[in-house]
Structures are given as C-alpha cells and as structure tokens.
C-alpha cells in the first residue's frame, strides 16, 4: 500500500512537469475558478491557472525540497550525532545537550523565521530552512546507534587490527547503523513534505513556483465557492505523506526488528 503511493509520487515528481498540459503559472483570466472540463481536467484556480498543472509542479517541488532537505539533514545528523558518540567524552555531552534543546523547540517556528527574513524566499531558502531543524532527529538516531555499536566485538577487532578511527567509523560502525537511519529518513521525507506544505500555506514558500500548500491556501480562501481546490491539494498531500509513513512502517518491520 505504501510503496505504490510513494512510487506514483516519485514518478509524477520526475516526469509530471513534462506531462502538465499548461505552465503552472499560465494566467487565463477568462476562465477564473472554473469547474472541470475537457481543457482543464481538474478545473482552474485563481486567475484561471490549471489545477492539474499546479498539482504536477507541486509534486516536483515537494519531491525536490524533501529529498534535498533530508539528504542534507541525514549527512549533518550522522556527522554530528554519530561522530560525537564515536569520539565520546565532552564533545558527545555537548552535542547531546544541543540536540535535546533543539528538539524541544517547535521546528516550524524556526523554519518560519528563516523564510520570513529572506527577502525573496526561493527553493534554496526552503531547503536550508528545513535542514536547519531537520538534522536533529537523525543526530539522535545516529548517536544511539553508534553508542550501541561502539563497544561491539567486530569494532574492537577492527581497532585491534590497526584500522584508523575514520576507517572504523565509516567502514564498520556506520554501515551497521543504516537500517534505523533509513527508517527515520522515510518518515522524515513525509514530515518534510508536510512541513513544506505548511510553510507554503502560510505564504512563506518560494513565491515563483507552484506548491500544494499554496494551492491549499487558495482553496481555503474559496472554500465556499469551490471546495475542489482544497480537496485536490489535500488529497495530494495526504496520499504522499500516508504513503511515506506506511513505507516507513514496512521498512521498520523489515530492517529494525527491535522496535517491531
């Protein structure tokens, strides 16, 4: 159930913009907020923009932003959390304290602050804002995994054979921590899609590109005349997040039997 949803989302994010019948920003004032027709399968939104094209462009944006933000967050999280746990001592104590403090503060508020202060927020700003808060979760998982693996026999054996610290970390410890990190990253993709939608909904998304959150914002404004806009955007967001969460559950059952 999860994988087909994720597959459909990934496919549409990659090829969608080529399939889109119109540009997501093409204005057609004569056909403002019209119902579905042969020319516009899902109807039109504000200023006669084709809803289907907006949804497809939104999939591309959500895919781009979530994959990039999660990749950056995983890298930073693994280096900070995993590295600190591997080194141990005072460094580890400080990193643990910072991640605890960062986790207790609402990430959406930090994201909002970063985007609101950018004069003209673009896709890059969005990815940066989401990564600033995103690494925390991965740092915690990586730290827990490294602490668990650090004293295992095969790690001691590698050290006894004279392997350098970085070799032990990257070749022996890290590969054994990928399972839980992949599970976390799958849920993280879902959370990032949701966060991107929330930020665009609040009007802080990249103004130039079409997004699901911005479409939902339009839909809320026209809720009484045409609930269609809100329904379309909501179904797209929900299906994607649900698919990623189900895939995360499935991965956890397969890769991480401890938590099952």
């Amino acid at each position: 159930m999860g994988l087909p949803l994720v597959g459909a989302f990934a496919l549409l994010a990659v090829v969608g913009p080529w399939l889109a019948p119109y540009a997501p920003t093409a204005i057609d004032l004569a056909h403002d907020l019209e119902g579905p027709s042969r020319a516009h399968w899902l109807g039109t939104g504000d200023n006669g923009v084709d809803v289907l094209s907006v949804l497809l462009a939104g999939a591309r944006l959500a895919g781009e932003v979530s994959v990039a933000a999660v990749l950056i967050s995983v890298t930073v999280g693994v280096v900070l959390g995993g590295g600190a746990a591997f080194v141990g001592g005072r460094v580890d104590g400080w990193v643990a304290r910072v991640t605890d403090a960062a986790q207790s503060f609402p990430s959406l508020i930090v994201n909002m602050a970063v985007l609101a202060l950018a004069t003209r927020p673009g896709v890059g700003h969005l990815i940066a804002a989401l990564s600033i808060t995103g690494w925390v979760g991965y740092a915690r998982v990586a730290r827990a995994e490294v602490l668990r693996l650090r004293e295992r026999e095969f790690v001691t054996a590698a050290r006894a054979l004279g392997a350098s610290g970085s070799r032990v970390f990257f070749r022996h410890v890290l590969p054994n921590a990928t399972g839980p990190l992949m599970v976390q990253a799958t849920f993280g993709l879902g959370a990032t899609v949701l966060a991107e939608a929330s930020l665009s909904f609040l009007g802080l998304g990249p103004g130039a590109s079409a997004s699901w959150g911005a479409l939902l914002d339009q839909g809320t404004a026209h809720l009484l005349q045409t609930p269609r806009l809100a329904v379309c955007a909501g179904v797209a967001i929900t299906a994607t997040v649900l698919g990623l969460n189900l895939t995360g559950d499935w991965l956890r059952d397969r890769l991480d039997p401890r938590e099952g």
Binding site: A101, P227, G234, I237
Partner: protein, 312 residues
C-alpha cells in the same frame, strides 16, 4: 523539602535553556542581512529619518552592546518596546495573545487524550479483531492527514454542509468556536497516542501483576483502569510531553486556518514587519512554555508511577 530542591534545580536549568534559545535567536536575527528600517519606514523616508530610527533602535551599535541592551531590557522593561507599535512592550504584546494559543493547545491536548485512551483500551483488549484493525487504520490516518487539510474539510462539513458550528473568523468566540480548531490540532496527536497506548497496554496486560489482579477476582474495568492503564501512562506521558513542541508549531497553522488571534499570527506578522523585539518575545514565550510543561510532565510521572521518585 526534597521536592522544593528538585523544582529549584529544574527551574534553574530551564532558565538556562531559555537563555540559550534566546541568545541563538538573537544572533540569528541580527546576523541575517537586510535593514529592518526598510520595512519599518515607508519609501518616502529620507536618509536622515532612517539614520535617526537606526540610532533609536540601537541598530548602529556593535552586536555585543546590542546583546547587552537586549539582556537589560529582557530583565527590566518587558524585552523592549515593539518597533511597530512603540506604545507597548514586546512582552505585553505576547501576553495579550498567549492565553488564546495556550487555550487552543490545551484543548487540543485534551481532545487527543479523550480520543486516544478509550481507542487504545478498545484495541489492546481485542487484539487481532476488526476493532483492533479499525483503530489501527484510524490512528494512522490521524497521523498522516495534514491539519491544514483537516481544518478546511471540517469547516465544510460542520459549518457549511451541516451548519452546527459558527463559521470561523476573528469574530467567532465562545466554546463552540474552539471545537473544530481543537479537533484539527489534536487529531495528529490522538493518532500517535493511540498507537503508543495500544502497544504499551498490550505489554502491560501480559505482566504477572495483571494476572494477579484478575485472580483476586477484581472486575475487568478495575484491572484495566487501575492496574494496566496506570503503568501504561508512563510512556504515554513521555510521548505527550515530547509532542508539545509539535503542538505549538501546529497551533500556528491552525490559527491561520481558522483566522484566530494567537501567538502564531503575532509571530508571523512581527517577522514580516521586522518587529524584532516582538519576534524575540514570541520565541522566549514558546521556550518558557515548553520548559514549564516539561517540568510538569516529569512531576506527573511520579504521581502516576510511585516507583519513580523525583531526584536529580
């Protein structure tokens, strides 16, 4: 006496956390490019007016002395005056809207617990049945459905199709106007708590002391509520406490959906107006709330589970 010492230690470390958050936020806000006077003054303002304003707001001072001013104002004058509305202090602006957001978050939390506990009991006592599966699907949906979509759909259902509740807007007030926002914000947390609660209860129900309670001839409701639910509460409280920051973040979105006054809208407006003192006051307000609730959650552990004692 022991409790007083514990509380003092926790409050002191909480104050340090708040100071750290405030400092981090101060550095970020002041390191970012852009001149706040661009937004605060209109385009016709000349360079002298701009320079005068920069001087009045201490923007021309080096960052270290600005930080000193910030700390002094934080202690003595309500974190300084709002730049956009100089007639009131930043803290006053936050305190004015804080009760609205606190009420929303509290009622959302209430909604989540009221939904989650019976659902978890229902599913945990009937493992493998259709009821169990239905609760599982419902909790997963509760977690995946974005509140920014649930909100508008609830409005369509209960304010338009079935006009039982007042249409949202700044004029809507009273308990009836709280129903849909609390449901919207609480649904996700209800899903998480249900899942966790079911798992925790399943584990507790296998414990020998539950068997003993049953063997003593206690009725099933007493066994479930007094013996099983009580120890299942510990992991639930942990999750509930850790969800608080997500709840406060979600409140921003919920306030926007339902066009409500609150910390979220104040924060967003102040950010866009570059009203830095109010932005800082909002951040500090959120941090203080999170710290205080965390302490309350840790105290609640000791109440729920007498095996846990408050200590360092």
């Amino acid at each position: 006496m022991k409790l007083a010492g514990y509380l003092l230690r926790r409050l002191a470390s909480g104050a340090l956390t708040v100071l750290a958050v405030a400092t981090l936020c101060f550095v970020t806000l002041h390191a970012l490019p852009g001149d706040p006077t661009d937004v605060l003054l209109d385009e016709t303002a000349g360079p002298e007016a701009r320079e005068a304003l920069r001087h009045a707001l201490h923007l021309d001072a080096p960052i270290a002395s600005r930080y000193e001013i910030f700390l002094r104002e934080a202690v003595f004058s309500g974190m300084g005056r709002s730049w956009a509305h100089p007639d009131r202090s930043a803290v006053a602006a936050v305190l004015e809207v804080w009760p609205h957001t606190a009420a929303l978050a509290a009622s959302a939390m209430l909604v989540a617990w009221v939904i989650a506990v019976p659902m978890a009991l229902l599913a945990a006592t009937r493992p493998g049945t259709r009821t169990d599966a239905a609760v599982g699907v419902a909790s997963l949906l509760g977690m995946a459905l974005p509140s920014l979509w649930v909100g508008p759909m609830l409005v369509l259902a209960f304010c338009v199709a079935l006009p039982w509740l007042p249409f949202p807007g700044p004029d809507a007030s009273g308990p009836a106007s709280m129903v849909l926002p609390s449901l919207t914000l609480g649904a996700g947390m209800a899903g998480i708590l249900t899942r966790m609660g079911r798992g925790a209860l399943r584990e507790v129900l296998r414990e020998p002391y539950v068997q003993t309670a049953r063997a003593k001839g206690l009725s099933e409701p007493v066994v479930l509520v007094k013996h099983a639910l009580r120890s299942a509460m510990v992991p639930l409280l942990t999750v509930g406490g850790s969800q608080l920051s997500a709840l406060l973040g979600g409140a921003v979105v919920t306030e926007r959906i339902f066009d409500r006054v609150g910390l979220g809208s104040l924060f967003l407006d102040s950010l866009l107006r570059r009203d830095i003192p109010v932005v800082m006051a909002c951040v500090v307000g959120v941090a203080v709330t999170v710290v205080l609730v965390q302490i309350a959650v840790d105290l609640a552990y000791a109440v729920v589970d007498p095996r846990i004692r408050v200590s360092a």
